[in-house]
């Protein structure tokens, strides 16, 4: 997903490591003679080594090795016995689509979605090479993509592998999609895929996509995300000598607006700080650029007050907010004509789907949400209350078409490190996640109630 997060390290995590270490030690000492456990250990080390192989493929933007990733995924599909195809919506950007056919092809299918690209790394700030997938003594696997989101892609495959070998037969068809370019807006990936004829023919009923790690024991699930509005405001005013005090300069006008924006930002941030709202539930607005001044060979002319000044903001609008009110605020308070200001959206994502409804996947009265909760519980996992994803993911392309999409990455007791240095996932959490998906896929693929008519689909 398009989102770097905090580096906070959870202490719960440390005690968990200790516990796991002792647990493994006990197992090794007491139970090693047991041949069954040895087999389980062999199997899990094979699972981990496949995860590491995927992580070792450098798919960082701006030059992801998509072909290598596709070859690896196809070989995995073959070893599991899934149908596979590669689709290129843009040259050199393969999308891998795998299928496990269900017994009732008339029922809408399950789409297990993940992206193959990752964000770049600043290698000197990492403890290990970012594409080495180094396993340390605590069982942590370090790699760019360990959380975002190669874990999820491989967990889908491992869960399907285990269900297949256990003899499970899905009623609904299951599709696994590995798409390119999510980190650079998904235009040549999810967006074109969701628009394609192939997508229509696979008749998707529910999409699972990435979520976020959880520093607590509860997994997190996301029913919506905030829409990015990228705003640039510009002030103009008469230029003047640096020594002159006068009103209505471009700088003064811009700074007044920035103060107004900052007061709004503080009001939203206070809601989060006081615990009244989650991060994803408020309108965030952060300044990303400032530009003003007359360039000179050594920097800027220091004795001229410029006639233009600009600032840029990354605004994120939750689907629960009133976008018209926000736009009015921008026009009247942040870039008022009365202060000689103009504004422009560098990009403005809609907060509505194509039917004009808020871009939200329902939680109550949505059987897929209920099934997810039950399946997580059955696999001995805990689920937190539904959240709005603070940034953007590919889910928006599916929700836009009226499809339910749930953001979910089973990583509990894990610091949120996506897009950060030293991104890692613990081996035990990863294996636990495979079990969680096994439970979810089983529940979803067995859900036989026919929900394909329009009315019911709308309800989803």
């Amino acid at each position: 997903m398009d989102y770097p997060l905090l580096t906070s390290f959870s202490s719960t995590n440390r005690s968990l490591f200790l516990f796991l270490f002792l647990f493994v030690l006990l197992n090794t000492c007491l139970l090693l003679p047991n041949p069954g456990v040895a087999v389980a250990e062999d199997e899990s080390s094979a699972v981990i080594s496949r995860f590491q192989q995927y992580l070792q493929i450098d798919t960082a933007q701006p030059s992801p090795r998509y072909q290598e990733a596709a070859d690896f995924l196809i070989s995995q599909a073959k070893s599991i016995g899934l149908e596979s195809q590669i689709i290129e919506f843009a040259v050199g950007k393969p999308l891998v689509l795998l299928k496990w056919a269900g017994s009732d092809p008339t029922l809408p299918s399950i789409l297990l979605y993940s992206h193959t690209d990752v964000v770049p790394v600043e290698q000197h700030k990492w403890a290990y090479p970012a594409f080495s997938a180094q396993l340390d003594s605590h069982g942590n696997i370090y790699a760019r993509g360990a959380q975002d989101m190669k874990c999820v892609g491989m967990q889908y495959l491992e869960a399907v592998r285990r269900l297949k070998s256990s003899g499970f037969q899905p009623v609904r068809s299951i599709y696994l999609c590995f798409a390119p370019d999510e980190e650079i807006n998904g235009h040549d990936g999810a967006e074109k895929f969701a628009d394609s004829d192939i997508f229509k023919t696979i008749n998707v009923g529910i999409v699972l996509d990435e979520g976020l790690a959880s520093p607590t024991e509860k997994y997190r699930a996301f029913y919506a995300e905030r829409s990015p509005w990228w705003l640039a405001i510009k002030a103009t005013g008469s230029p003047g000598h640096g020594s002159r005090l006068y009103d209505n300069s471009a700088m003064e006008n811009l700074l007044k607006s920035i103060e107004s924006v900052r007061r709004f930002r503080a009001s939203q941030f206070d809601l989060v700080k006081s615990g009244l709202k989650e991060e994803g539930e408020v309108i965030s607005v952060n300044m990303v650029f400032l530009k003003a001044g007359t360039p000179s060979p050594t920097g800027f002319v220091m004795n001229v007050q410029p006639s233009e000044a600009e600032a840029g903001f990354d605004i994120r609008v939750p689907p629960t907010a009133d976008p018209e009110a926000l736009e009015r605020r921008i026009a009247e308070e942040w870039a008022p004509v009365s202060r000689n200001m103009t504004y422009e959206f560098k990009s403005k994502a809609t907060v509505y789907d194509k039917f004009g409804r808020p871009l939200i996947t329902k939680t109550n009265s949505n059987p897929w949400w209920v099934l997810l909760e039950e399946a997580v519980r059955k696999a001995n996992g805990k689920l937190g209350k539904p959240e709005i994803f603070p940034a953007a993911t590919d889910s928006r392309h599916f929700r836009f078409r009226g499809l339910p999409a749930i953001g979910f990455s089973p990583m509990a007791n894990t610091p949120v490190l996506l897009h950060d240095h030293n991104e890692f996932l613990n081996k035990a959490e990863y294996l636990k996640g495979v079990e969680i998906y096994e439970s979810i896929i089983k529940a979803y693929a067995s859900y036989a109630e026919h929900a394909s008519n329009e009315g019911t689909k709308d309800e989803l």
Binding site: G242, L255, R262, E279, L290, K291, G293, A311, H419
Partner: protein, 443 residues
Amino acid sequence: MANSRVSLLLLTLLALTLSLSASSPSSHNREELETPITRFQQYLRFKTAHPNPNYTAPVSFLTALAKSIGLVTQSIEFTPNKPVLLVTWPGSKPSLPSILFNSHLDSVPAEPTKWLHPPFSAVHTPDGKIFARGAQDDKCIAIQYLEAIRNLKSKNFIPTRTIHISYVPDEEIGGFDGAAKFVNSKEFRHLNVGFALDEGQASVNDEFRVFFADRSPWNLIIRAKGKPGHGSRMYDDGAMENLMKSIEIISRFRESQFDVVKAGKAANSEVISVNPVYLKAGIPSPTGFVMNMQPSEAEAGFDLRLPPTADPDLMKKRIAEEWVPAIRNMTYEIIEKGPLRDHMGRPLMTAVDDSNPWWGVFRQAIAAAGGKLAKPEILLSTTDARFIRQLGIPVFGFSPMTNTPILLHDHNEFLEDTVFLKGIEVYEHIISSLSSFEEVHST
């Protein structure tokens, strides 16, 4: 501009031909063509605008002009290709401290498209206006000094104190290769200057303005650092947040100073001004800036002006403690563009009371010329006068332009011919009074 020059030349030739064919003595006509106004125009036509001022041609012109009046000239280069021209009229008592009249050779650039007439054509309109970059700042005084001396000489006036005129380069870019080097040279010491006049500013009413101090410019650059982060995340102590807190505090200070001016309690030049001149932050992208990353660095630049009455140490303390506290991950840089105190550690200002005998002489000279003098002021910006004041020498800023809009550095800078000519008369009074003043003066 080339075209207008050619046509002027043609007109001149035509006039000559006509006068010749009219068979009147050509020398008489040529005399008529050469007037203080035409000499002013000639001087205005040299392209002395930054960033590539032509210094050679105007210095040759002024040298020839000074010599034609019978003055001594000397050209000194403290920096290659940046000449200082020194013109001297020896006094009868050379042991007395001399009087210096300073002006700068250079001018600020002009945007010709925003001018009614090409800025270096010195067009003289039927209503008497002479349009040119430098007409007010400050080529007028350069010629007026010489014309006043020409007139005094023709009246057989003999100065008691020696009179010097200096023409210096680079004032508009700080004067560091011009006046700053000149005043610190042994050549300058040999002049034994007791009092100096430098440029002032136009007056929109009928009172002449006189300036006893400049404000000292500081460049202030403030820089903030903070954790970088995704554009969607709100967190405290980002670089932008830290920078904006400082900018808001500085804006408040600016407002408080401006309010004093707006309330009429002080002149613009008597307060500390601080104006933002640039803002810089963001991660550049091919289309502008990356819109979803909060940068880890942000900076802003300010033009700060301190009147001589302000305490620079107090200002520095305020900057360090309130404006740019290190505790908010901020750093700053102050670039002091010139001196704040004279060589004795006194504020850089010239007294305008009885403690300064030159003040009385100057005031009387203006009165003798039939002029009125406004209350002495601090100049809004800076001139080369600060370098001379730093040596403890009293200096007034004075450009005799009454009833004239203030157009220095502006489009369509002009001066009216009558104002220019009146200025020559005023300088005649000033030069004769100052140079005749014999009271022993200690600096």
